[in-house]
Symmetry: C3
Subunit: 161 residues, 3 copies
């Protein structure tokens, strides 16, 4: 019983330490974010947007991840998914805006495995694998909303001056 | 006859609306550009350069496109082309300078299809497919010219202070 | 004998001219670097960091290269390498910090050959092939150090305010 409580205490401490960990710092060009093993990419980007009240951002990134991509199926109107585990994130580019008060993340990436072959596309999600994920975030001064445009059947970032 | 005139009028209006559409806005880091289905990437980048009289720019981007790549053939001194339609543009990076008063675009990209396999290289051109194409443009304060350097047989961006 | 001395003199001049060549210029967003055939990517990035005393940077790039990638082997704790010669560098992203007073470069890239197939991952090194390599460098105002984190067995960029 004591042992269980001890383990619970330890894991609480580890979890608190993980949450207290600095995941991004301000730099002149925006923010530099470093995620570590187990961190969820979209969760951390969303937390950043809410905490910093960023109107909209562009970002690039690279690291070592478990990634899930989706290719939009015009018939089913859903993303056909495929996962790639323990792969290098060779490249990532994305934008974040808002959609009905929710953070709206759009990210594309390219991953490579031990054969160096490359795969990628529209990111449905990613977690950091054994290693880290470095992200450069550029902040805009205008709030951009994403809205469904029926004519092309896709969510599109709405620009406004 | 009336019906034909009506259709012509409608398509004129649609086309004017499309041209009047905001394709980019100024942000602290440069410009954010959003292209839509049917837009031609190089045409829009050239229009941007001429309208904004940008001395030179770097850009990154991602979206859903029809892309045409070329691999330089050292024998024929021409680009062997290959097209990829309805693919995710997983990554794009480029620079734009000037060459003898013409806009000179140099862009590389990576595209992925429904198998998530990645292809890419030197972009000869691209149009937006069903969706959009988001581009982040960083503007420089110096005019950079591209010039053919015979020693390496390639067009190279000329730096100057 | 005279001919040999003449050739030595000529190659000395060429080499001095190459070294004197402007490889990067300051722009509002940071620095734009252009490397040419034969230039070594990591050597030039390191020279830049030391000369400009940059605390830390992010960079993106593209060009035509000979690249060497490595995939980390968890068993041997070493990178299994593979080289790709005369390929388009379709995309490159990286960060540079410091590790025990040495420049610490972390770069990922995607390359494509004449079949347009894409490969890539963690870059062990690259030289410019017949053409050039254009790099956009964003400079941070804080010195970031990379340190080995035993818990994940990887070098991680340490953030600090």
């Amino acid at each position: 019983m004591k042992r269980v409580m001890f383990l619970v205490l330890i894991s609480l401490c580890v979890s608190m330490a993980a949450n207290a960990q600095t995941r991004y710092v301000k730099v002149p060009a925006g923010y530099l974010m470093v995620l570590r093993q187990g961190d969820d990419l979209f969760t951390q980007l969303e937390a950043f947007m809410l905490k910093e009240k960023a109107p909209a951002v562009n970002f690039t990134g690279m690291g070592f991840v478990n990634a899930r991509f989706g290719f939009f199926n015009q018939q089913t109107k859903e993303y056909d998914p495929r996962s790639f585990d323990n792969v290098e994130l060779a490249s990532m580019q994305g934008t974040i805006g808002w959609q009905q008060d929710s953070v709206s993340i759009h990210a594309h990436g390219v991953v490579t495995d031990k054969t160096f072959q490359a795969y990628g596309g529209h990111l449905l999600g990613a977690t950091v694998s054994t290693g880290s994920l470095e992200i450069m975030i550029t902040v805009h001064d205008k709030r951009f909303e994403r809205a469904k445009e029926e004519s092309i059947g896709a969510n599109v970032l709405q620009l406004k001056d």
